[in-house]
Symmetry: C2
Subunit: 283 residues, 2 copies
C-alpha cells in the first residue's frame, strides 16, 4: 500500500519536487494550499513535506510558526534542492508589459536584486506558493502580470512562457525541506535511518520572569551537544518577547547508535532546569 504525503502545492512547486525526490513512486501526493495546511494534513496523512530554509532568503517563518505548535508530527528527514527561478508570463508578454510580479514571499525575497534592476516600477504581491502564482498568471486575461516560479510550471499550466531564467540573486540557491512523519508507535519509518541530527524545541521558562535572567550560553552548556543551527520565533504565549527556540544538534562522536539516547539525556537535563523542551525530529 502506498504512503500518503501532504505537501505545499499545487503540483509543480519546489516542495512537490523535494517530496518526489524522497518518496519517489512509493507515495500518493496530496497538494495543500499553504504550509500550515500541509502540516495540519498529518492528522490524516502519513507524511508532510515543507520548506525549512533557503540559502539566500533564510528560514521559512511559516514553517517554524507551524513547528511551534506541532503535535502530530516528528521530523524524519531532510532534502536539499537546487533552486532555479524563472520569470513566467502569458505567451507574448514583454518586460515592458509587466507592472505586477507575484510569487511566494520566499521567491520574491530570493530575486530582490533582479526585480529592482529589471522591473523597478512593478509592484509585488505574495501568493501561497510559487506554482499558485503561475496558475494565477495562466488564468489572467491580461499581459501585465508575471510569476516567479519553477520552469516546470509552463508545462503544467496553459498559455505560459519563460521570459527570464535563473533570476535569483545568487547562482548558488538551495532550499532545505523537512520530511515530517506522523507520530505513531507501531509504524516503521519509511527509510531505515541512522540518525545523526535532531531538532530540539524549547521555551526557556525562566525568561518569562526577567529578561536578563535568560542566558543562551548557559542553555547551550546544559544541552551539551553540538548545536549547528538556532532559530527563534515568538512563543505561543501572551508574555511579550518570550521566544520558542529551535536548536539543530548533530552527532559529534563516532557512535551513531548512542545518538537517540544522547538527545533524550539532553532533553532531561533541560527539563531539570525548568525549561519546556522536547525533541521534534531525529534524522
Amino acid at each position: 500500500m502506498k504512503l500518503s504525503v501532504g505537501f505545499l502545492g499545487p503540483l509543480g512547486t519546489y516542495t512537490h519536487q523535494a517530496a518526489h525526490e524522497y518518496f519517489q513512486d512509493s507515495a500518493i501526493y496530496n497538494e495543500k494550499r499553504t504550509i500550515a495546511e500541509a502540516l495540519k494534513s498529518l492528522e490524516a496523512l502519513d507524511y508532510a513535506v515543507v520548506p525549512r530554509e533557503n540559502s539566500i532568503f533564510g528560514s521559512v517563518i511559516e514553517t517554524f510558526d507551524g513547528l511551534k505548535v506541532l503535535k502530530e508530527g516528528f521530523i524524519q528527514g531532510e532534502v536539499i534542492l537546487k533552486i532555479q527561478h524563472c520569470l513566467v508570463v502569458k505567451k507574448g508578454a514583454k518586460f515592458s508589459d509587466i507592472d505586477c510580479v507575484i510569487s511566494h514571499e520566499q521567491a520574491l525575497g530570493q530575486c530582490r536584486r533582479f526585480l529592482v534592476e529589471k522591473l523597478p516600477g512593478a509592484t509585488t504581491s505574495t501568493t501561497a506558493s510559487t506554482a499558485a502564482a503561475a496558475e494565477t498568471v495562466s488564468k489572467s486575461q491580461t499581459l501585465n502580470i508575471a510569476a516567479i516560479c519553477s520552469g516546470i510550471c509552463v508545462t503544467m499550466f496553459e498559455d505560459l512562457e519563460i521570459l527570464a531564467n535563473g533570476i535569483q540573486d545568487q547562482d548558488s540557491n538551495y532550499t532545505r525541506f523537512f520530511i515530517i512523519g506522523k507520530q505513531s508507535e507501531g509504524k516503521p519509518p519509511f527509510k531505515t535511518l541512522r540518525p545523526t541530527h535532531a531538532l530540539i524545541r524549547l521555551i526557556p521558562t525562566s525568561s518569562a520572569h526577567k529578561e536578563t535572567s535568560f542566558d543562551l550560553t548557559e542553555l547551550l552548556k546544559t544541552i551539551d551537544l553540538s548545536v549547528i543551527r538556532l532559530d527563534r520565533r515568538p512563543a505561543p504565549v501572551s508574555h511579550p518577547f518570550l521566544d520558542t527556540y529551535f536548536l539543530e544538534v548533530v552527532l559529534s562522536t563516532q557512535n551513531p547508535s548512542e545518538w537517540p539516547e544522547q538527545v533524550s539525556q539532553s532533553i532531561l537535563r533541560l527539563r531539570d532546569k525548568g525549561h519546556l523542551a522536547e525533541s521534534i525530529g531525529l534524522w
Copy 2:
C-alpha cells in the same frame, strides 16, 4: 542645531512614533520609503530608526539583512512601543466591501487570525510601510481595499476611517526599534550612555569548509558573555547555508564601566579563532 533622523516613513508609521519618543523635538525627521533606504540615509544623516523585532511576528528580516552589510552605522539605543493595529478603510466602506487588505508584511503577520476569521475571502498584498498602505487606501477610488496601520493615519490622510481597532492576534503587541547613529569619531552620542547591551555581528569562517565543524556551543564559550538573543541570516557570500549571526550580549556583573572593554575582549577572542566578528552596537 537640530539632529537629522531618517526613519521608515511616511509620517504616521510606528517607526516615526518610536523616533519621536527618543529624540522628541531635538531632531528634524526625514521619512524614507523602505528600511533599506532608512539605513542608507546614515550616509547623509545623523541617525536612522528602524524596527528590530515584534513580540508576535518576530524579527524584522529586512532590518537584519541591512545590518549584515551596515558600514556607516552603530546601534546606540533601543525603543519599545506598544502596537495597536487598526483596519482602516475609505469612509463608508463596510466589511462586505473589502476584497483586498494591504500593509507591511509584519502588520499582516501580526493580524493573521483576524484576517482569517473576519475577511477570509480577501487577498493580502504587502506595502513598504503601514502608513504607505493607509496612503494607498486614501487615494483609492473604490471601497474594496483596506489598510492595517496605526489609528493616527486617519488624521494624516484624507477620507479614511477606522473600521476595527486592536485587531492584532494578541492584545500584548510590542515592537522594539533600533536607534542607529552615524559612525563618527568626534561626535558625542545623543544621550550620555551607560551601556549594558551590545550587538555582535559574526560570520563563523570555519563553517565555510565543513558543515558540522561549526558548533554554536563552542562559539558561545569563546564569546564568554551572557547572550540573550541570537538571530541568523544567510551571509552575503556565495557559499550556501553560511550564516551571519547577530548576538545580543548583556552585562552580567555590577560593573558597567568595564562593559565596553569586556565586549572588545570578546571580539578579539572570536577573531583569534578565525571568525569574522565586530561589535555593531553598544547601548
